[in-house]
């Protein structure tokens, strides 16, 4: 809560804390009011802000796209349909470019990933005190607006993608084929443990790199916005300088958020493509 903030450190910590809902140490369920409380809740707790914002953003996205898709005409497209078709065409081209197999899931998956991550990243451009400030007035202790700065969100998506990779690897190559791929290369069957170690690392690194890349980029961006925001409190000169900095960083950040969404999407397509290939 705004009243508790005295130092820059407090301000930063406050902005990096999720709104967590879980079981308190005394056995009751409720919101965590300090970072300590949130930590004590353990695994079975939910970051309501991450889940809420991500779901709301996805719903907005699907509302817009579904409305256009329902009325999609084959004639001359109107403004909204034009925009949607542009994105869909772009995704479709990307999928055709990197995915060689035949799977009706991949293109919609890519569209969902791209649009969803882009929208979640886009929340980073909202001035960082606006929404948490409003939430503070309502009485919420913490609020983190950008879901992709929460590792839970990025890991959640990366694990989902990983599950799809495992599913299609086994479905296309069979259990034997998949296990063989993990154990019999690159050194042949006499070096089985080494093979398993190398291939295992390769496999596990896929979701981890996916999740950490997105999380790291967005977390760093968010942190810079927070640091710029601290400067507003230190006089007129620093404040106006901070305004220019924030504008510059926001403009640069537009590139980053789009790029990160695109990278997540492209890597997902590539990983699924690898899962569909029998032999490399």
């Amino acid at each position: 809560m705004a009243g508790e903030i005295h130092t820059s450190t407090d301000y930063i910590k406050h902005h990096l804390q999720n709104l967590t809902w879980g079981q308190h140490s005394d056995g009751t369920w409720g919101l965590a009011h300090t970072a300590q409380e949130a930590k004590e809740m353990g695994f079975w707790a939910f970051n309501l802000d991450t889940l809420g914002f991500s779901v709301v953003l996805a719903v907005i996205f699907f509302f817009l796209f579904h409305r256009v898709a329902k009325k999609a005409t084959t004639g001359v497209p109107s403004g909204a349909q034009n925009f949607v078709e542009m994105i869909v065409d772009f995704i479709n081209d990307s999928v055709r470019g990197s995915f060689s197999g035949k799977n009706d899931l991949v293109a919609p998956l890519a569209l969902t990933i791209f649009a969803w991550i882009f929208l979640m990243n886009l929340m980073d451009l909202v001035p960082i005190d606006w929404i948490p400030g409003l939430a503070g007035m309502v009485g919420l202790p913490f609020l983190k607006v950008v879901p992709t700065t929460d590792p839970n969100a990025t890991f959640g998506m990366a694990i989902a993608v990983f599950a799809l990779v495992l599913y299609y690897s086994i479905k296309i190559k069979g259990v034997g084929g998949f296990v063989g791929e993990l154990t019999l290369q690159p050194f042949g069957k006499w070096a089985l443990p080494i093979n398993l170690f190398l291939e295992g690392v390769t496999l596990i690194s896929k979701p981890i790199s996916l999740a950490l890349r997105l999380f790291g980029n967005m977390y760093a961006g968010e942190m810079i916005f927070i640091l710029i925001a601290i400067m507003y409190g230190s006089g007129l000169m620093m404040g106006s300088f901070a305004g220019i900095l924030q504008l510059g960083w926001a403009i640069f950040h537009i590139l980053i958020i789009t790029l990160q969404a695109f990278i997540f999407m492209t890597l997902t397509i590539v990983y699924l493509d690898m899962a569909h290939q029998e032999h490399h």
Partner: protein, 156 residues
């Protein structure tokens, strides 16, 4: 910053959204896009076909015009030939008619001449008889010499 059950929630919502996208968003858009692509391709093909047909029609029209010109020239030539023929025929007919008229006139003239000759002959006889009778009135008895006179008339 704690890893907690948000992870699971995020994964579940992710799958739900992908499913929704796959079911309700992607297919209708792709159908529309592909159909438009096909329409455009068809339109372009039709335009190409139309262009070729137009070219063909133009060539055909040129042929027709050339044929028509030839035919018109033919007809004009024939008409000229025919007209000169007609003039020639008319000339010949007129000449023949003239000749016929001249012959008829000549025949009539001959007839008139003969008739006049006959009349003159009769009158000459009667004048000769009258003259002779005046000369011979006294000496010749009409009754006695009637036979002789009639013989004379027949001779003339």
């Amino acid at each position: 910053m704690n890893i907690n059950a948000t992870l699971i929630g995020q994964s579940i919502s992710f799958f739900l959204f992908v499913w929704f996208c796959m079911k309700f968003v992607w297919p209708p858009l792709m159908v529309a896009l592909n159909e438009r692509k096909k329409n455009i391709a068809d339109g372009l093909a039709a335009a190409e076909r139309g262009r070729q047909e137009h070219e063909l029609a133009e060539r055909h029209a040129k042929d027709v015009i050339r044929e028509a010109k030839d035919e018109a020239a033919n007809i004009i030539a024939q008409a000229q030939k025919r007209s000169s023929e007609i003039v020639e025929e008319a000339k010949n007919e007129a000449k023949a008619e003239g000749d016929r008229l001249i012959t008829a006139a000549n025949a009539e003239i001959d007839q008139e001449i003969n008739r006049a000759k006959e009349a003159l002959r009769g009158q000459v006889v009667s004048i000769a008889v009258a003259g002779a009778s005046r000369v011979l009135k006294q000496e010749i008895d009409e009754k006695a010499h009637n036979e002789l006179l009639e013989d004379l008339v027949a001779q003339i």
